[in-house]
């Protein structure tokens, strides 16, 4: 199979202006229903649908872009300390950039941060550079003690997001909602 064609840099905004993919509105609804007040993110293509959906349907949820996933974890922690429920949106490859922050800040201090991760390197991946880190996503989350669940179908998206948020804020642990390629591919 040949590589996909190189897409123009405007692809992101084009894909957001149309009808959102079926999984995106329920993920946004799950975050809003769980009283998430601020989203810190490092962008990725599938996440652009969430950012657009949150802006459109839940404008009270603030959005802040971070320069790096580890920084996003720091900002989210500060939000929580100040009484705001935070979520971090990022590509799963960024998990490697923030593993120490999850361990030595979120887990050690029992600071709940909800992660929504678009997954790279899982089945359907075309970019060989993404595959090694893709293999490591579940083991890293498990070894750090971060509960996680994958959204496989749009119909279950809202309930999974709500369940992850419930676990995070009740048990005071970071918890992750994974959006695999088989859900998000084709965008």
């Amino acid at each position: 199979m040949s590589d996909p064609p190189i897409t123009p840099i405007t692809q992101n905004s084009d894909s957001c202006s149309a009808v959102p993919p079926p999984w995106a509105p329920p993920v946004c609804a799950g975050l809003a229903a769980s009283a998430i007040g601020h989203v810190v993110y490092v962008p990725d293509n599938p996440l652009s649908h969430l950012l657009a959906g949150l802006s459109r349907d839940y404008p009270h949820i603030r959005q802040t872009p971070a320069t790096r996933e580890e920084e996003a974890v720091g900002i989210a922690s500060g939000l929580y300390l100040g009484g705001v429920r935070p979520a971090v949106l990022m590509q799963s490859s960024g998990l490697g950039n923030c593993a120490n922050a999850i361990g030595s800040l979120l887990v050690a201090y029992q600071i709940p941060v909800v992660f929504v991760m678009s997954v790279r390197g899982d089945p359907g991946e075309w970019n060989c550079a993404q595959v090694p880190m893709g293999r490591a996503v579940h083991p890293i989350l498990d070894s750090l003690g971060v509960p996680h669940a994958s959204v496989d179908r749009p119909e279950e998206a809202e309930s999974i997001v709500r369940a992850i948020c419930e676990t995070a804020f009740s048990a005071r642990v970071p918890a992750a909602c994974l959006l695999p390629r088989r859900l998000t591919a084709g965008e």
């Binding site: 769980s34 802040t64 320069t67 720091g74 500060g78 429920r85 050690a108």
Partner: protein, 202 residues
Amino acid sequence: MTRSDATACLTRRLRDYAVVVSLGHPAYDLYVAGDRAENFYTWGSMGLTSSIALGLAMARPDRRVVAVDGDGSLLMNLGTLATIGSCRPPNLLIVVWDNQAYGTTGGQPTATARGADLAGAAAAMGLESMTTRTADEFDRALDQVEARRRTTAIVVKVDESAPQGRPPLDCVFIKQRFMAALGVPEGGTQGQTNTVNEPPSP
């Protein structure tokens, strides 16, 4: 001026500030200069002090927030200056103890020992910034921050000094005491869910 002198100088001015302090010697010195519930001592996550303070400042525009960072720590996450510069919460002050060394790990030189200019970096990212070298200069810089209320970074050139104590090592205690002092207590007792902005009951 040693870092512990500078810390004492800052502590006298803290009053209602909520403080996030970098792990290692900056946290140890702050504890010795005056432990308070409004101090959030980090024991890990090197580099994230100013980022945590940014999140806190955005969550609590009613509170003044200060990050007490170190040159080595801030260099580990220099990108956060760009984020702080684009958010610019006016209630946020970044204080950087710049001893030009990794003081907690044996004094290896940082890039500031060879001319890297953290106040210049902060200015380039849109923060008010200044470098101070004496206690008087630092005090005047703090006066200026209180008068102007803009997102500011003060880089304080300090000499290394041996810390005389350490904050509590119980991370959850540090967090819960801090959040209670800020008026957003966690449930605290077993079985209670978190009270941070809970969604309304159905």
